[in-house]
């Protein structure tokens, strides 16, 4: 399995992390849980969001459109946006790895329709000004939700993958939620006012 694929790109960090991981396990309960995890967490290799060396499924042109749609849905505000979170690359990899061919074909055709309809109504999507792009994404989304959307059309597949990619990314999780790797306790009834950020990763 390539679960540590991020580490693989930085071998020395990967090895160091593995050594610390084993050390913590050997120490077992002699080292306190949060302390052990702090060591492990601190040694994660850095992600490089947004850097796509080679695409898996989408063409570079398709990826540019998908990236723009994702960023319109999840823009950079006081927290990172879809592009900062590596969502475009995530969508490309997810389409390659998670979907059977008919779903991928539907996505590609829907993306072409999205582009063609923009062109037909005046201007290619990426050549429009930012406000017009947002309007176009919103109207496409509204139309999709109003119609039959099972199986999901392009715009809703993109939306689902953008949300999944964003909220499983490091910035998406840590900037929008309380991420507590080792909670050590469970409290069943806590006033939101005492919870810091109101949404916890779970």
């Amino acid at each position: 399995m390539s679960l540590e694929h991020v580490d693989d790109t930085v071998p020395e960090l990967g090895q160091r992390r593995e050594i610390l991981r084993r050390a913590a396990w050997l120490l077992g309960s002699a080292i306190s849980a949060p302390a052990a995890l702090a060591v492990l967490q601190g040694c994660s290799a850095k992600q490089e969001p947004g850097v796509v060396v080679a695409t898996k499924f989408l063409t570079t042109a398709e990826l540019a459109t998908v990236a723009e749609v994702a960023e319109i849905m999840i823009p950079k505000t006081d927290t990172s946006g879809a592009k900062d979170a590596g969502v475009p690359a995530f969508i490309d990899v997810a389409l390659d790895g998670l979907y059977p061919q008919p779903d991928r074909d539907r996505f590609r055709k829907g993306l072409a329709d999205f582009e063609n309809a923009a062109q037909a109504s005046g201007k290619p999507f990426l050549e429009r000004d930012p406000a017009a792009r947002v309007d176009y994404v919103k109207s496409t989304l509204t139309a999709a939700l109003a119609g039959e959307h099972s199986p999901k059309p392009f715009i809703l597949m993109t939306r689902e993958l953008a949300l999944l990619g964003y909220f499983t990314s490091k910035v998406g999780i840590t900037e929008n939620m309380e991420y507590v790797p080792v909670p050590t306790a469970f409290h069943g009834c806590v006033p939101l006012s005492q919870m810091g950020k109101h949404v916890y990763w779970e």
Partner: protein, 562 residues
């Protein structure tokens, strides 16, 4: 072959095999423990501390996994974080006359690493039902005989729970209970007031406090990460890898060999006893025989059934110990029905912190006391209340800043009920050997043929209707039955009963101490022995019977009876 001879052989290292290994080695037996899968030592859990962003594909099941594991991915478990614990179905085939979901992990620790840790005792009601109703064969063991063994395994394993005082779900030796959350407390009160039904916190094999003994120094308390299925580096929950196997190892009496596929019990007709097991090395294909005075089959219900059916001799032409013709038959699982969910309004200013590795439990109330239904037996529910997450935005039209602002507040509370019901033992539900097909080791494969029948169909209707009734009685909104949840036998991963125990050798395979009636030095202590399954999660019962069987085996050895 002196080096291949031991006092005892244990086949399998999961829930039951771990207990057999611990008990037999602690009582001084030189014990060979065999597992067909790879070695896993406590702490060797590759994804246990992996952050969510380091898991590929948003931790969704990939197409590659679906292609290699078409059966295992009938469940939602084999995600990138977990898929290494589930078998490659193409390399480990079986055939299905009717669909049967055989969900397995071939590695040391087996499914004890993956279980949901729910730990409930059977009661006298459960153990007396077959005799009272004329179903299957009567259980040859009473609750009073079993209770001290439940005490024993609960104390060692560490079971968290509340003393609820419910006669049909006996209390045990508990560590402190986990908490219900605010919405669950509301639901508990509503169904008690309006329907007289009980909701309790789940009884779970996670340590909510230090163990009350000093035999497991490698184990720490639950950290409320709720990532148990990945393996817990803190030893926060019970598995054979974290608990029983380390105890067996410390005795110095255990030889644990991974990658050893046991495919036959060797029977010596002159001695009238089993002398050992035949083994293929999973890596080299080399064949070896190992010998011992006593053999424990703990390979899991269907795997032990396979070994016995495949052990054909002049004395046992229809499979080892199969004088009754019941070997492979009476296969049960726990019945599921579509899950039911609801949205709970209010409670907007409260939440929970920590990730509780547990939910609530609604013990069986159907056909209990004065309640009488058109079907026999009953079911329990499990579930939890939680805040909905980002999935609620998949089909919404919020975009941009509006979407991001909406996400900063927790989603509405939802609450769910999913059920486990009892499937009646039936001779027609069975596994046989399919000799027309071979696996990559050249071994024949198992064929499974089990279907739901009238009693189960009638019960499933109640399982859904009652859930809807309770959620509506509580005043919750948007009550939904998940119609996509079609259940096929096996999916509850509680398969049992294929070598049932009973007092009569003509109608059962094992006696009350899990000994093969026709060959007393072989014990079968995985789910195979279950004369009926009740509706409680079964692992605690396998632990208790295994410890009891090991005690009996050593006592009989000392008396010269084996």
């Amino acid at each position: 072959m002196e080096s291949n001879s031991f006092d005892a052989i244990v086949v399998g290292t999961g829930m039951s095999g771990g207990w057999a290994a611990k008990e037999l080695t602690e009582k001084g037996l030189k014990t060979l423990v065999l597992d067909r899968g790879r070695m896993v030592k406590h702490g060797e859990y590759p994804t246990a501390t992996t952050d969510p962003w380091d898991l590929p594909y948003g931790n969704r099941i990939t197409q590659e996994t679906r292609q290699r594991k078409p059966v295992q991915t009938r469940t939602s478990y084999p995600t990138p974080a977990n898929q290494h614990w589930f078998v490659d179905d193409l390399d480990n085939p079986y055939t299905e006359t009717n669909r049967f979901d055989w969900i397995r992990g071939y590695h040391v620790g087996g499914r004890s690493l993956l279980w949901a840790r729910q730990s409930y005792r059977l009661s006298s009601m459960d153990l007396e039902a077959n005799a009272k109703e004329g179903v299957g064969v009567p259980w040859p063991v009473t609750y009073d005989e079993l209770a001290p063994w439940y005490d024993y395994v609960e104390t060692f394993a560490g079971i968290s729970g509340n003393h609820d005082g419910i006669p049909t779900l006996p209390d045990g030796k508990f560590l402190p209970p986990m908490e219900l959350n605010c919405v669950e407390i509301d639901f508990q009160k509503c169904i008690a007031d309006k329907l007289g039904r009980k909701l309790i916190i789940g009884r779970v094999a996670n340590l909510t406090a230090p163990l009350t003994h000093d035999q497991s120094p490698q184990r720490g308390t639950c950290q409320y990460r709720n990532l148990c299925i990945r393996g817990c580096p803190y030893g926060g929950y019970f598995s054979s890898v974290s608990s029983t196997l380390p105890s067996a190892e410390r005795t110095g009496n255990m030889t644990l060999l991974p990658d050893k596929i046991v495919y036959e019990v060797i029977y010596d007709s002159d001695k009238g006893r089993a002398t050992g097991v035949r083994v293929l090395d999973a890596k080299t294909g080399a064949q070896t025989d190992y010998f011992a005075k006593v053999i424990f089959l703990c390979a899991s219900t269907l795997a032990s059934t396979f070994i016995m059916l495949n052990s054909v001799s002049t004395r046992f032409p229809n499979g080892f110990g199969n004088d009754s013709g019941e070997l492979g038959h009476n296969l049960v699982d726990h019945l599921k029905a579509p899950g039911v969910t609801a949205t709970v309004e209010g409670f907007t200013d409260v939440g929970y912190t920590g990730r509780r590795a547990n939910g609530y439990y609604l013990p069986r109330y159907r056909n209990v006391g004065k309640d009488k239904r058109s079907y026999l037996r009953g079911f329990g529910y499990q579930g939890r209340a939680s805040r909905s997450g980002f999935g609620r935005f998949y089909d919404s039209d919020l975009v941009g800043t509006e979407l991001k602002d909406a996400f900063k507040e927790p989603g509405p509370w939802t609450l769910n009920l999913s059920s486990f019901g009892e499937i009646l033992p039936n001779h027609l539900n069975h596994a046989t050997i399919d000799r027309t097909r071979k696996d990559k080791y050249g071994l024949p494969v198992l064929n499974i043929d089990a279907v739901l029948r009238e009693n189960e169909r009638a019960m499933q209707k109640d399982m859904v209707d009652d859930a809807v009734e309770m959620l509506e009685a509580a005043g919750y909104k948007d009550v939904k039955v998940n119609g996509n949840d079609e259940y096929f036998p096996g999916l509850s991963i509680h398969e049992a009963g294929a070598a049932r125990m009973g007092a009569n050798p003509k109608t059962s395979v094992l006696n009350k101490f899990n000994q093969v009636h026709a060959c007393k030095n072989v014990f079968v202590t995985d789910g195979s022995f279950m004369a009926s399954s009740a509706c409680q999660n079964p692992s605690l019962t396998y632990m208790a019977f295994t410890a009891r069987a090991a005690d009996h085996a050593v006592s009989e050895l000392k008396k010269g009876n084996l």
